[in-house]
Symmetry: C2
Subunit: 293 residues, 2 copies
């Protein structure tokens, strides 16, 4: 499969859940002509018209059997907490050739639950979430240049691994294959930690306001806390399924905060300057590297 | 003074330091025709041409006597750490009518140091900083709609307080007069805490990288850490001069992080959902309020 000369290699792709990510997969697949038919499985009857009018799917249905039958690739775009149930439900409906993947932000728990049920399941995580949700915010270009993590295991079917890699590559993603453990530890630091810190900052300040404070918030506060506007149930599930790695990441942050407090107590100008200097240098260097990607 | 029908009430305004804030004051004063002459005092010879070509001042000089003589208003836009020295230097040069203010992010230390030297000094803090610095990033509209804090004390000259209030109002600022103590406690929470958290996050993650992590940073990490790219020496001074209030603000954040860690340890789904739900609700409500301002 080649993004530059796409051929319809997938007669039918099924998206289970058509929100921001599912909808974007549908738009991207259709834009690139990668599938004969994109079918969306939705929970609510109103979603059928919404998906169709946005053009995220060719057909949408609330009937799981209809949705999954004869699909060559199924992408589970449902909350992490519901993947096991969904896998159990679709297992008897799938053709023997069907490959299944997902877009969950945490991988160990999903794979532990789904792999024993579906032998041709391979976990994925395209890193292009947003605090925005819903198919109305979906975009055909969401995956272009985005890291798409794929987490094969020793049990994974080789053909399924190749197919899932080719799929994200065809949508413009930059593939990174790694173990589930490495994935979950990394995203705890790069994605989950910023999120919980943003939420903690809001809880410490906006939720426990001091008199006269309301005029004193600027764009800095808005940007630092942007992630706190994400979906609470999605983040509850992420926190529950990646609890240990997130705790470890919080510990790493608390070490920094404790060192800073010590420098503040001692009015240690050199230590304070070093604290701000190192973070500026690292961030500026990182941004420069990102710009070159 | 009225922003809609400005009159040249100030024969001469002197800006001590012409960077992002000083340059923006100059551009805003000139745009509104509020002064007969805007004079900039600069340290480096190259800055003279830069200020003049951007139009931030009418005249720029490295001679402090020339800069300050006959000024009716002097705005100190220099780092918080150097205000006392500057006040001592300009004291013998000022006319008896001259009013002096500043733009420092912390007020107690500045006022403690400068008020005994300059009887017509009143502290200010326009809340429109940026991680960008330098006169090249200055803007005539920087103060429009921005909170401009003024912190008079019992020793303050009433006429000077009125003049400083009128000045920021004429530049489009929203005035908030409050005590130095209230100001410093508030900004520790609304501005300094987000900044130190952004820096701590960079120090915990980017400065101590784990293998394979570099592909896993997204816009969420970039936004949450944006403030960490601010000036290290400026933030060292802010941290030194507002150390106690910042420590207290960090304590407030650590309470939230500890509660979160407890919920993670106990895999307490309800507590986790509450944590994310409350922060989303508070932030969304706050943003809505900001939009109406």
């Amino acid at each position: 499969m080649d993004a530059l000369s796409p051929s319809v290699e997938l007669p039918k792709i099924t998206l289970i859940g058509v929100g921001l990510l599912g909808g974007s997969v549908g738009l991207a697949v259709k834009k690139r002509g990668l599938a004969g038919c994109v079918t969306g499985f939705v929970r609510r009857v109103e979603s059928i018209d919404e998906c169709l009018s946005i053009g995220a799917v060719d057909e949408a249905t609330q009937d799981l059997t209809e949705a999954v039958t004869e699909a060559s690739l199924v992408v589970m775009c449902t909350p992490v907490g519901g993947m096991k149930d969904m896998a159990t439900q679709i297992k008897p409906l799938l053709s023997t050739e069907a490959v299944v993947t997902d877009v969950g932000s945490v991988k160990a728990s999903v794979i532990q639950e789904v792999e024993p049920i579906l032998s041709r399941f391979v976990g994925s995580h395209p890193l292009c979430g947003s605090e925005k949700t819903g198919v109305a915010n979906a975009s055909a270009n969401l995956f272009e240049g985005a890291t798409c993590a794929v987490t094969p295991t020793e049990q994974s079917d080789t053909e399924a691994v190749v197919k899932v890699n080719e799929f994200w590559s065809a949508l413009g993603g930059r593939l990174v294959n790694l173990t589930v453990e490495a994935h979950d530890e990394i995203v705890a630091r790069t994605s989950h930690l910023p999120h919980v810190v943003a939420s903690a900052l809001v809880n410490a300040v906006l939720c426990k306001p001091c008199a006269g404070e309301s005029d004193f918030f600027g764009t800095g506060f808005a940007d630092t806390t942007r992630l706190a506007s994400g979906s609470p149930t999605m983040w509850r599930d992420i926190a529950l399924t990646n609890a240990e790695a997130i705790q470890k990441a919080i510990d790493d942050l608390q070490v920094e905060l404790s060192e800073l407090k010590a420098a503040l107590t001692q009015k240690d100008a050199d230590a304070l300057e070093k604290f701000f200097k190192e973070s500026k240098a690292s961030r500026d260097q990182w941004l420069e590297g990102e710009g070159k990607k």
